[in-house]
């Protein structure tokens, strides 16, 4: 296998399931380190088939507890499972306390599970910048199911849609007005609704509200968003939750939506990566200070200045 031989040694170790190498490469991907980038390039052709299942939802609704219950359920089915849990970084110190692991108590000698915590490092949208890369490393290491937990800031955790193949939006009973306020963000990204803490009063009501909302449609006409009631701590409803995820993954295959989604996600990814390079390049453009002057003096508006700059650069280059 000549292509095998051309892999960087770290990629080779990764594919052979070396956990330490996997852990180091994840750090490398987070830090945008050239060694990790080379491995990501090499493994890319082997990726793209994993199920990336995102759990998004407001603070404290039980996302990590659900991950814990899903891990045992999936291990019971004989599936390997990796978890990436993202928590926010402090905008002041840049530091972070990553606490999702507290809820995850799997057996430490089970090689079928890998858990990694990530700080968002200022990236908006509820995930970390390197989440996609980390998922690819996990897939290359043999994990076909990757569960992602978002930061938990509710309405703004919508980037999960650009990363996950199935997005589970987790809510709790007594949504009340929340149903109204969340409508415009999180609700639109759900492939599955999960009413967790359904051991608490009000679960039926919440489930009905959500089913009503889901039946209004609006998203994909071919998929009615199922509503599953769970109690992560009991646990109950976990097999049903996983069945709903599986049904969505099967729907993606049978409807051709998997390819469509992949096309959309990769387009976004290329655009975002290109944009950050363009912006870095533009900010080094020596004509920028000169262009600023008339704008500062209120002789030219920023939009016109930007448009002229853009036109001139295009002429100069292509």
């Amino acid at each position: 296998m000549s292509s095998e031989r051309r892999l960087p040694p770290a990629a080779h170790a990764l594919i052979n399931g070396d956990r330490r190498v996997l852990a180091r490469l994840i750090t490398g991907a987070e830090n945008d380190d050239p060694g990790a980038r080379a491995v990501l390039r090499a493994i890319y052709p082997r990726t793209g088939r994993a199920w990336l299942v995102g759990l998004a939802g407001p603070l404290g609704v039980g996302k990590s507890s659900l991950l814990n219950a899903l891990i045992s359920h999936l291990r019971g089915l004989g599936q390997n499972v990796a978890v990436v849990a993202v928590d926010p970084s402090s905008p002041f110190s840049g530091g972070s306390v990553l606490g999702d692991r507290i809820r995850l108590d799997r057996s430490p000698d089970d090689p079928g599970v890998f858990i990694r915590s990530m700080a968002s490092r200022g990236h908006a949208g509820g995930l970390a910048r390197a989440t996609r890369e980390v998922a690819r490393l996990l897939e290359a290491a043999g994990f076909g199911i990757i569960l992602l937990e978002t930061v938990g800031s509710g309405q703004v955790d919508v980037e999960i849609r650009e990363v996950a193949t199935t997005s589970v939006v987790v809510l709790v009973p007594h949504l009340g007005d929340e149903v109204q306020t969340l409508k415009a963000g999180l609700f639109e990204i759900a492939d599955v609704f999960c009413v967790n803490k359904s051991d608490l009063p009000g679960a039926d009501r919440a489930r009905r509200d959500l089913m009503e909302f889901a039946s209004l449609g609006g998203g994909d006409p071919g998929w009615t968003v199922p509503v599953v009631a769970t109690s992560a701590t009991t646990p109950s409803g976990i097999p049903e939750l996983w069945q709903a995820v599986e049904a969505h993954e099967r729907y993606l295959d049978s409807s051709g939506k998997r390819i469509e989604g992949e096309r959309r996600r990769l387009t976004q990814e290329i655009l975002a990566l290109a944009e950050s390079r363009f912006v870095a390049d533009l900010s080094r453009d020596p004509t920028l200070p000169r262009r600023l002057e008339p704008v500062l003096a209120r002789r030219l508006d920023p939009e016109t200045a930007a448009r002229r700059w853009w036109v001139e650069r295009r002429k100069g280059r292509t």
């Binding site: 330490r20 852990a23 945008d32 606490g99 950050s276």
Partner: protein
Amino acid sequence: MPSAKKRPPIRVLIAKPGLDGHDRGAKVVARALRDAGMEVIYAGLRQTPEAIVQAAMEEDVDIVGLSILSGAHMALIPKILELIRKEGAGPIPVFVGGIIPDEDARRLRKLGVKAIFGPGASLQEIVESAKRLTGRTS
């Protein structure tokens, strides 16, 4: 955004081995390390040595801090140090906070614990020591 020159944050695992059930001290330390710009993986209470070392490996941390109050330190800490060595994890420095008699502290240092903080230690001391032990004292 590309920020190649910025140093990546120090990653720390804070865990509490043993059976006693309160972790205020560990949480306060976790917060202080966060405020110093570190990424603190907080593993929580009642962790077995095996679970702690596995978390340190998966999270690829630069340093491990253990909080101990139960008096079981002489059983647990050597076990953790041994497992870290076995993991081939390289020399991940370990520091310990808790009430530890001088005699035990000496033995733990000999076994490889890099720093021990009694109840009187300041948060500043702990933060500085974590930076020094990970080679980040700029």
